[in-house]
């Protein structure tokens, strides 16, 4: 096990990719704070699954776009576990629309959760990680943050922003033993992608050299790598886990 005894906080961990990340970190021996926004029951199921693996876990409600809520979440995580070794900024939402039709509140909601949320959570754990002189911050971006995608101006802007934030945070914290990397998933089967039309899915499949959609497990494996000592000599990088869509 690569993460024996480590303590992790995963945002948006009740469903989809975040759920898989939380469970995979636990399979590698990590205790996990399972953050959720609305899906308490799903979060509790993740907690139960982690406990059945033999690691500690608890569910914690917080809106990552709200500073006070984030501060409280980090405080509780430190109270429960004593340290925070791994932060996975995964919480994200979509409000897709063509640029010309996109409402200001659709733009704001996505930027707030997907970009500001990463800033707030990172800021909140930094103090603890600086004291520890170690830490791993892993930001979940998206391949569309690199390539662009029609109908997702807000989401793409936020996910591209996360890549820039990852690089800057990596440079600021490198001397304190904290690494910061991002994962850019391609087309992964989750509730979020199930909402897309069949036409759009067929179209996207054509752009994937490896010829299939990814699984949440593919992302979780990359996160485990970035959270473990195996990645000790890399920081500020973005791993494309996308079946070869963007090279």
């Amino acid at each position: 096990m690569k993460l024996q005894g480590k303590n992790a906080l995963v945002t948006g961990a009740s469903r989809g990719i975040g759920r898989e990340i939380a469970i995979e970190l636990a399979r590698q021996g990590a205790n996990v704070a399972v953050n959720f926004s609305g899906s308490e029951q799903s979060a509790n199921e993740v907690v139960e699954e982690i406990r059945s693996i033999g690691c500690k876990a608890f569910a914690i409600q917080a809106n990552v776009a709200d500073s006070d809520s984030v501060t409280e979440m980090v405080k509780k995580t430190i109270e429960q576990f004593g340290t925070i070794d791994i932060l996975v900024n995964n919480a994200g939402i979509t409000r897709d629309n063509l640029l010309m039709r996109m409402k200001e509140d659709e733009w704001d909601a996505v930027i707030d959760t997907n970009l500001k949320g990463v800033f707030l959570c990172t800021k909140a754990v930094t103090r603890q990680m600086m004291k520890q002189r170690s830490g791993r911050i892993i930001n979940i971006s998206s391949i569309v943050g690199v390539s662009g995608n029609p109908g997702q101006a807000n989401y793409v802007a936020a996910k591209a922003g996360v890549i820039g934030l990852t690089k800057t945070t990596a440079k600021e914290l490198a001397t304190r033993g904290i690494t910061v990397n991002a994962v850019a998933p391609g087309f992964i089967t989750t509730d979020m992608t199930d909402k897309l039309s069949e036409d759009l899915k067929a179209e996207m499949l054509k752009q994937i050299p490896l010829g299939s959609l990814g699984e949440p497990k593919d992302i979780a494996n990359a996160v485990v790598f970035l959270a473990s000592d195996d990645s000790r000599y890399m920081t500020g990088q973005t791993l494309h886990i996308d079946g070869g869509m963007v090279m």
């Binding site: 600086m130 004291k131 600021e172």
Partner: protein, 77 residues
């Protein structure tokens, strides 16, 4: 509160690896004691722990010399 300076001095010596003799009230963390921005943030964090107080970001930005730190602690502790 004479010991405020002593306690602050000890933290600075430990954190920045400077000689005690270099530490005067006028000494600037960045210009005289070789600290970078992140070092100053960490110093403030340690002062918070040492003196059991919270220093807001706005106040922390105003602390640039040893004297600033000592005065802040004396008037807020």
């Amino acid at each position: 509160m004479a010991d405020v300076l002593e306690r602050v001095t000890k933290i600075i010596v430990d954190r920045l690896g400077v000689e005690e003799s270099q530490i005067t009230l006028e000494a600037s963390f960045k210009e005289d004691l070789g600290a970078d921005s992140l070092d100053v943030v960490e110093l403030v964090m340690e002062l918070e722990d040492e003196f059991g107080m919270e220093i807001s970001d706005d106040d922390a930005e105003k602390i640039s010399t040893v004297g600033d730190a000592v005065n802040y602690i004396k008037s807020n502790a």
